[in-house]
């Protein structure tokens, strides 16, 4: 599915790079530990997190993630938005917490597909 469908279905606010919502999403990963995301996320995943600082952009770019969903209505920092714009990383905000966002994406058919280990 495309990012656009997720934005519309979950009522997300797009904070950066709204011109890239045609990006294909192939999975999802939810974590607030950056090393965990480096180790376990896959290219094409949408990443659910509460971290708002600029280092999330490098992690998303290095792993070719489809976009980042910030939870609990958290606002990205100014420096984060600037870097997201430079790197073309889509940032979306949900008013809901991680559990609800992940559950809704799962209902839409997205899977982590990572398994154990």
């Amino acid at each position: 599915m495309k990012l656009r469908e997720i934005v519309e279905s979950l009522g997300l606010e797009v904070k950066c790079c709204g011109d890239r919502l045609d990006r294909e999403v192939t999975g999802a990963y939810a974590s607030d530990l950056l090393s965990d995301v480096m180790a376990k996320s896959k290219a094409g995943d949408v990443w659910i997190t509460l971290q708002t600082h600029m280092n999330i952009i490098a992690v998303a770019a290095l792993n070719d993630l489809a976009g980042i969903i910030l939870v609990n209505g958290r606002e990205p920092e100014e420096a984060t938005l600037k870097k997201a714009d430079d790197e073309g990383i889509v940032i979306m905000v949900s008013k809901e917490p991680t559990f609800e966002v992940a559950g809704k994406l799962y209902e839409m058919g997205l899977r982590g597909g990572h398994g154990a280990g």
């Binding site: 607030d32 530990l33 950056l34 090393s35 965990d36 480096m38 180790a39 290219a43 997190t49 971290q51 600082h53 600029m54 280092n55 999330i56 490098a58 992690v59 770019a61 290095l62 792993n63 420096a79």
Partner: protein, 147 residues
């Protein structure tokens, strides 16, 4: 067979605003060389974690990427506090990170274990009060080209 490629990157300790820049260059170079994405991914994890360690703990460091037909070699040398007990530092979950580093989602004690998991060869040398040298290799089959 392509020639050996080598490039070095400076890493500034404490500067989280540029953290990931060296790893990003590593990714770009390896993709340009045309290595298979599975090798690129492993090397990028190694480079990123090693870079974050320098940013988190050291004064400054230098990352050297060397690519030959047989392997990707990533060596990171830093000037910093060193590691007192390398065996302990290799344990998943062990960390000496400060609270504010942890709040950013770093310092979970996963850095060195992530490097180890993605390396075919790993050597860590450290002297307390002087610095640390991390040398990791990803070995390439058939020159690392996509099959």
């Amino acid at each position: 067979m392509h020639a050996v490629y080598q490039e070095s990157f400076h890493i500034e300790g404490g500067d989280f605003s540029r953290a990931g820049a060296a790893a990003s260059r590593v990714k770009q170079i390896l993709k340009e060389i045309g290595l298979d994405s599975s090798y690129v991914k492993r090397a990028v994890v190694i480079a990123y974690e090693a870079e974050i360690n320098v940013v988190s703990y050291a004064t400054r460091g230098k990352m050297t990427l060397t690519v030959s037909p047989a392997k990707i070699d990533i060596t990171v040398e830093d000037v910093g506090p060193g590691i007192e007990d390398i065996e302990l530092a290799m344990q998943e979950g062990y960390s000496t990170a400060s609270d504010w580093i942890r709040e950013m989602g770093f310092g979970a004690g996963m850095g060195l274990p992530n490097i180890k998991k993605n390396s075919d060869f790993l050597e860590i040398e450290s002297e307390v009060g002087v610095g640390t040298r991390v040398h990791a290799e990803v070995h390439l089959a058939k020159g690392g080209r996509p099959s």
